[in-house]
């Protein structure tokens, strides 16, 4: 019996995607809900481990075929309990892009795992919009070089001059390491205002 159950479980992700392919959008969320959290989590892990299934799943998410709230809840729990597939989980939350998905990413900025902070910063930069800017700017003070650089990239790439004021606010208390990241963000913005602030920072 056991192998059969395992087989059935293994085929579940493909089955779910097959339904998606058939444009069974309305039924989709009901199916996901009926899986229950545990089984949905294992389905998700299966997607993350399988590139082909994963890309079909992400496509369905982006096209809005799936919007079940249980999905965000599962992803949030996976992020808290797994060290694997951190990038995939953060990306998936970004592809869902709903307020509750963005909220999970925002809360992950305080994670003790560097990778979670790194990818959450990146994804929030992509889909978080202006209201997430203050939180991304805060990541310029992260202890990790990589996270600080990602934060600088996200600000420079997506928020531009518009959020130079937030960078300015950090200057009085900035450490040498943080200063590097702020300078990078200002270099990426490259506007007159950013250049002025950069020069102010250098003269400190």
């Amino acid at each position: 019996m056991l192998p059969l159950v395992e087989k059935a479980k293994a085929s579940l992700p493909a089955l779910v995607l097959e339904l998606l392919e058939q444009n069974a959008d309305e039924k989709m969320d009901a199916i996901l809900d009926s899986l229950g959290e545990d089984r949905l989590q294992s389905v998700l892990l299966h997607y993350f481990a399988n590139q082909s299934l994963g890309s079909r799943f992400s496509r369905a998410l982006v096209l809005g075929h799936i919007s079940s709230p249980i999905l965000v809840k599962c992803l949030s729990e996976l992020l808290a309990s797994h060290t694997e597939f951190v990038k995939e989980i953060c990306f998936t939350l970004g592809w869902i892009g709903t307020d509750n998905a963005v909220e999970v990413l925002k809360n992950s900025l305080g994670s003790s795992q560097e990778k979670i902070r790194l990818y959450a910063t990146f994804v929030l930069g992509e889909v978080g919009g202006l209201r997430m800017a203050p939180f991304i700017v805060n990541m310029l003070q992260d202890p990790s070089d990589e996270v600080r650089e990602m934060s600088a990239f996200s600000i420079g790439w997506n928020q531009g001059n518009y959020r130079v004021d937030l960078l300015e606010g950090l200057i009085p208390n900035v450490t040498d390491e943080q200063e590097k990241a702020i300078k990078l963000a200002l270099d990426m913005i490259g506007s007159k205002r950013a250049k002025e602030l950069r020069s102010k920072l250098s003269k400190r």
């Binding site: 496509r59 992509e126 202006l130 531009g160 990426m188 506007s191």
Partner: protein
């Protein structure tokens, strides 16, 4: 995907540095479609360049403006029969995706690997001052960031009906492949607007429509009157003159509305190892010629393929594009051409003798030049050579005749 004859707009989406804008205009020109760059419309509406919109107002503000413009483009009938290039981050916005996805449009995604995108960004930075400070190149490991961006954004491009992989392909290759895909998916949209010379140039890929350079041009260059420098070939076709000039050491820009012509020229130049020739698929009516840039400009039987007023504008641009002391070689069909005589008598009304002397492409000629008309149009230049004649042409199709005026002139030195 099923073919939908009602598809009246073609959208090109895709990551940065995949050739959307560079190829988009050429493809639209080739298919006789209007061309719209969404970023240009956004910039126009907000009265500031898109770069500045990003810098001053942030990506979210840009996305909002972008989705409004897209909605307008998708519903306003003036944008029907157009090819529309969307910004690289357009599909990231739900509103923009909703505006884009619909049954009456074809969405094409230009795709490239992160490695190709990195390479193109590096290349554009090293060859252009405009991209000197590309933000992506400021981070420690740009390739890693580009890979992340690509991986995250990839699913958003799933809204596309067709994906064109651009890795390892020249812009001309990408244009040709895209044009073929559009013809396949929207035959009704492009059937009536195909560039006439594409049919001619694509007849036999191994054979050139005209194999040799124009004799007066050859004489001008070989006489040493014009030394190698910058040359522009307007209406280059498959490049009979452009190839000759490149072989003579000129830095050549070759422009033609026919993608088949530009494609053939590109292939031949590659085979010959000529790196000093740049092929552009553009309509010369809209092609901007940099003032006083060129030592030599060629316009061989191209002004006659424009309406008279359009030809006059092109001549003015041509003159402005020449350096002081620069040369132009221009030729155009005249009213002595059998094609004109038959046209004047009414189609299929000309005499049997005249009919047999007509070129197979005579139907594409829009303006036959009157006696001395070409010379008059360049009267403010020093005329070095001018000749009107009726010549036998055996280079393509059945033997036929052409009434033709050939002119070499020089812009006076100050």
């Amino acid at each position: 995907m099923s073919k939908d004859p009602s598809k009246s707009r073609i959208f090109v989406v895709g990551p940065s540095a995949t050739g959307k804008s560079s190829c988009g205009r050429a493809i639209a020109n080739n298919l006789g479609l209007g061309y719209v760059d969404v970023d240009d419309v956004v910039a126009q509406q907000l009265t500031m360049p898109v770069d500045l919109v990003f810098a001053e107002r942030g990506a979210e503000f840009y996305q909002e403006a972008n989705s409004e413009v897209l909605k307008e483009i998708c519903t306003d009938p003036t944008y029907e029969r157009s090819l529309i290039v969307a910004g690289a981050i357009t599909p990231l916005s739900r509103k923009s995706r909703e505006a884009l996805v619909g049954s009456s449009r074809l969405i094409i995604c230009f795709d490239a690997s992160p490695e190709s995108i990195s390479e193109r960004i590096f290349k554009s930075t090293s060859t252009s001052t405009e991209h000197a400070a590309h933000p992506l190149l400021r981070v420690k490991n740009p390739s890693r960031i580009i890979s992340l961006l690509k991986a995250f954004r990839q699913p958003f491009f799933a809204i596309a009906d067709i994906v064109i992989a651009t890795d390892g392909k020249s812009l001309v290759d990408v244009c040709v492949e895209t044009i073929a895909a559009i013809k396949e998916e929207c035959p009704e949209l492009v059937q009536s607007s195909m560039n006439s010379f594409d049919l001619v140039y694509s007849k036999d890929p191994s054979k050139l429509y005209y194999p040799n350079p124009s004799p007066p041009l050859r004489w001008l260059v070989e006489s040493g009157a014009v030394k190698s420098g910058f040359a522009l070939d307007l209406g280059c076709g498959e490049g009979r003159n452009a190839l000759f000039l490149a072989k003579q050491g000129f830095q050549v820009v070759a422009v033609d509305i026919s993608i088949e012509g530009a494609f053939k020229l590109h292939l031949i130049a590659e085979q010959l190892g000529l790196e000093n020739i740049r092929c552009l698929c553009e309509d010369i009516r809209h092609f901007e010629i940099e003032p006083q840039k060129y030592d030599l400009i060629v316009a061989s039987t191209v002004l006659d393929h424009l309406e008279r007023a359009e030809g006059e504008k092109a001549i003015e641009k041509l003159k402005r594009g020449l350096k002081s002391g620069g040369y132009a070689y221009v030729s155009a069909f005249t009213t002595k051409d059998p094609g004109y005589l038959v046209e004047r008598a009414g189609s299929s009304q000309g005499t049997a003798t005249e009919q047999t002397k007509i070129s197979e492409t005579a139907q594409f000629v829009k303006t036959y030049f009157e006696e001395s008309e070409l010379k008059r149009k360049f009267s403010d230049c020093d005329i070095v050579f001018y000749k009107e004649s009726v010549e036998e042409d055996r280079s393509h199709g059945p033997p036929h005749q052409h009434g033709i005026a050939r002119l070499i002139c020089r812009v006076p030195l100050p």
